[in-house]
Amino acid sequence: MAKTPETAKKAPSKAASKPAKAKTAKAGDAKSGGAKGKSAAPAETPSRKVAAGVGTAPGVDAQALGGELAELRRRQPRFRGLEAGHRACQGCGEALGARLVMEAAGPDVMVANATGCLEVFTTPWPQSAWRVPWIHSLFENAAAVASGMEAALKARGHRTKVMAFGGDGSTFDIGFQALSGMLERTHNVLYVCFDNEAYMNTGIQRSSSTPHAAATTTSPAGSQRMGKRHLKKDLLQIIAAHHVPYAASASVAYAADLRRKVRRAIEIEGPTFLLLHVPCPLGWGHDGAKTIEIARLAVQTGLFPVVELERNELAGVMPIRQPRPVSDYLKLQNRFRHLFGNDHRARQEREHLQALADHNIATYHLLGEEPDPLDTEGADTVRRGGLIA
């Protein structure tokens, strides 16, 4: 796969972001194991011998499991399209999103990837984290390159699915005409936009996907403005207006929903589009441990509606039974920090964002009609033994 060494060598400089603090535990607390299938010691039990130290050190466990970790990694019961060792930040939503998309897509795919974080952190030459044929296009032309790949495969009689990956900058802004052309020419390509709502790879510049009032390096908050003045572009509707068979939004917080949508889009012969919301701990200014929590709140507040459109008709929504106030989402992120100061505009902008969320809820009927007690229709309901897909 061709790839320019120049771009490939670039490693994200933000790799060493702040260490994440989650539930902190005292050292040694992990000693008492025992969850499934073992008769665990009761809270108070005398024992003849001191319980054998159950460590969580990888070597110990791997041996107990009869194999090296590398071997266990090879035996994972899922397709590892995007492997470890990539250079994404701690808690990167985009890396997670790409991993989940690859898992659902399976091995019979080829990818054209626009310039951006995903491209850079996965391919620090001479290494690559990808395990499918993958090509780095330019910032602006992933859809055009994918169109060419698809045409070539078709000409040779291959049925391998082509996917195009791009960030929001690449998709909403500079690569938009190439994407529009790809849709218009009805190429059999699934385009996935990894929407982290700014140009992250080059240092958090605003894009047309950056939400209203978010601070970026080119839409700073200050005396003149409260972050970005303009609104987040409603790209999904523009895509749907191309009359494509399938265009949907999804969130990394709802893996089961995302997998289903990838599979559905791949099955469709024709141009399909997925807008995947992926928090960026560095660019949004949040704890990397909270990536999923924040992605979930974006959905639960109504700020990021999760919907499916078929031929420009609404085909499905992920309902929110009990919407959360937008401030729950905003206050976890530094890009919205200025909305919590004493400035009178802070309150106004918070109310503005709340109104935008309410508008989404009303437009897409997100509250749902049936008395189903499950919000998100069970996409985030855990069951013993695994998520229901």
Binding site: A2, K3, P5, A8, A15, P19, A20, K23, T24, A27, A30, S32, G33, A35, K36, A40, A41, A43, P46, S47, R48, V54, T56, A57, P58, D61, A64, L69, L72, R73, Q76, R80, L82, E83, A84, H86, A88, G91, C92, A95, R99, T123, P126, Q127, S128, A129, V132, A255, D287, G288, A289, I292, E293, P373, D380, T381, V382, R383, R384, L387
Partner: protein, 562 residues
């Protein structure tokens, strides 16, 4: 092969050569916490663990998990005041798991299908051990010793085993066929049961100690406390427990037109209900404790199974909470009624709580009979020296060891601060474990896991679900013999078990495996050493903490990485 002048390629998956684990300052580890239900169970059951087996669709394994700890689940499932449910984390979300109802369901399945007890590790040198008292405490101890291979002799003064479970608890709450089935299964382990054998009468403590390497004493509390009101006592008064036992044995109970029962425990409430059903028009219960409500502290509520209280009120028992009897109204030796006064348990100058009666709140209550139900002490006949005049075996340590008597162990109600079947069962088990170790010349050691607080759960992954309540006979259909609370239907039981959040124990939900952006959680078919099916690959884990945040049940915590 064309020469690439502008461009390069890389082999698939070669990023694995770069170990991102170096970036880490914190690392995720699995941590098996104690679920609150576990810490709260006086018997020591880990409801989380057996509910997990239930959720997996293995009810027999669920029952066996209980039976390792408690050999009487069909009994405790029926009569336990279930502090486990009070502690259940799900209370903070919607309502607690109906643990008692599921315990009963499993206990009933075991009886129905004749399941036998799970095996236990035997001992190298079996020893002869005597157990005094065949109540739940003695039975539990005998069971735990017998299944380890010891030769157990169980003696009781009464003709049949069961203690108060048989002699005092009404059949409407505990059918005797259920009791017989669970006790029979214990005795079948090869325990020598000697009925009609009273320590201090047919048996002698010195002899017992000579013939056995260790003795466990669980005689319960059989001696009614002295009762009088300012020195007054009606000449013909009889303690409630005596009347209740007589009713259980012979089906007869006095039926005055109105009665006042003085006390707020199980005995008071059970007798009140029996007398009401026998036709006593007015049954009053005067108790210093409070009824559940906003102005009653949890520790001040009547010490009975919560639903029993509810049913008693339904049946028309008149409660006088936060009251005591100040004076008996007598005409000659005949009781006419009582004078009640309000009181509360309040802290005094030292901080210790004592009862404070409030002047000016006196009221008169007329009745034909007053029955004290204020509790019992240990009957020390035959082992007076061990008690030294005290009403209970207070100085015993948590394993039931009596200071100065390495071969003597005590447990159950006789300790004075137990009062439940589950408590006696827990004492019996702990003593058996300590006896087993003592016989091998070893000391018991604690293994306590910290309890998982509610805020360590990630509730985003659970859905609201109503608690399933077992069916209850309507008041007009209640008799003296039929069980009042029925079993949960099978499908309901399964649904109820599925509500458990698996506090602090991996439920194999795949969340960590799904959400790690770095493929650093490896899923294993085989069980990892800690019992889960996931291992962290620290060569790549960047320590972001996402797996810990998204683990629904708190099983992953982040710790400093050096």
């Amino acid at each position: 092969m064309p020469v690439l002048t502008r461009g390069a390629y890389a082999e698939p998956g070669t990023s694995l050569a770069f170990k991102t684990g170096d970036w880490r300052t914190m690392r995720p580890v699995h941590k098996h916490w104690a679920a609150p239900c576990h810490g709260a169970c006086p018997a020591g059951e880990d409801a989380q663990e057996w509910l997990a087996r239930f959720q997996e669709g293995h009810p027999r394994e669920a029952w066996e998990t209980i039976a390792h700890i408690n050999p009487l689940p069909a009994v405790t499932g029926r009569i336990c005041p279930h502090p486990c449910e009070t502690a259940c984390n799900r209370t903070h979300y919607d309502s607690p798991i109906a643990i008692h109802a599921l315990e009963r369901w499993l206990g009933d399945q075991a009886i129905l299908n004749n399941w036998s007890f799970p095996g236990a590790q035997g001992v190298a040198e079996p020893a002869a051990v005597a157990v005094v008292g065949a109540g739940p405490g003695g039975l539990s101890c005998a069971y735990q010793l017998a299944r380890r291979g010891h030769k157990v002799t169980l003696i009781d003064a009464l003709p049949e085993p069961g203690g108060l479970l048989r002699s005092a608890i009404p059949m409407t709450r505990l059918p005797r066929d259920v009791l017989d089935a669970e006790i029979g299964r214990i005795l079948d382990l090869g325990i020598t049961f000697k009925p009609h054998t009273r320590l201090g009468d047919e048996a002698d403590l010195a002899r017992l100690r000579q013939e056995h390497r260790a003795v466990f004493l669980a005689p319960g509390i059989g001696l009614a406390k002295n009762w009088s009101v300012g020195g007054q006592v009606p000449t013909d008064h009889r303690p409630a427990l005596e009347l209740l036992k007589e009713f259980i044995a012979h089906g007869k109970v006095p039926t005055p037109a109105s009665v006042i029962i003085h006390g707020g425990g199980n005995t008071a409430v059970d007798l009140a209900r029996v007398m009401k059903r026998a036709g006593v028009a007015e049954v009053h219960l005067v108790t210093a404790s409070g009824l559940p409500g906003p102005d009653t502290e949890p520790g001040d509520i009547l010490n009975v199974v919560p639903r029993e209280l509810h049913e008693a009120i339904e049946e028309g028992i008149i409660f006088h909470p936060h009251r005591t009897i100040q004076r008996l109204l007598m005409r000659g030796s005949k009781l006419m009624g009582i004078e009640m006064v309000s009181l509360r348990k309040l802290p005094g100058a030292s901080g210790r709580k004592s009862r404070v009666a409030f002047e000016g709140t006196e009221t008169i209550l007329h009745a034909d009979m007053v029955i004290p139900a204020i509790g019992e002490n240990v009957d020390p006949t035959g082992f007076e020296a061990l008690l030294g005049g005290a009403p209970y075996f207070r100085p015993a340590d948590e394993w039931g060891r009596l200071p100065g008597h390495p071969d003597l162990f005590v447990g159950g109600d006789a300790r004075g601060d137990r009062g439940t079947a589950a408590g006696a069962i827990g004492d019996g088990r702990k003593a058996a474990e300590a006896i087993d170790l003592f016989l091998a010349g070893q000391e018991p050691v604690h293994q306590r896991r910290p309890t998982l607080p509610y805020d360590h759960l990630n509730m985003a992954y659970y859905e609201p679900a109503p608690r399933r309540e077992p069916p209850v006979l309507p008041v007009e259909q209640r008799t003296d013999s039929d069980e009042i609370e029925g079993p949960l239907p099978d499908a309901e039981a399964r649904a109820e078990a599925n509500r458990c959040l698996s506090c602090g124990s991996c439920l194999a939900c795949d969340n960590c495996w799904t959400y790690c952006p770095d493929n650093a959680v490896i899923k294993t078919i085989e069980q990892a050493q800690d019992g889960s099916h996931y291992v962290f690959d620290y060569e790549y884990c960047k320590g972001c903490g996402m797996c810990a945040t998204e683990c629904p049940c708190g099983y992953i915590v982040m710790e400093e990485d050096h």
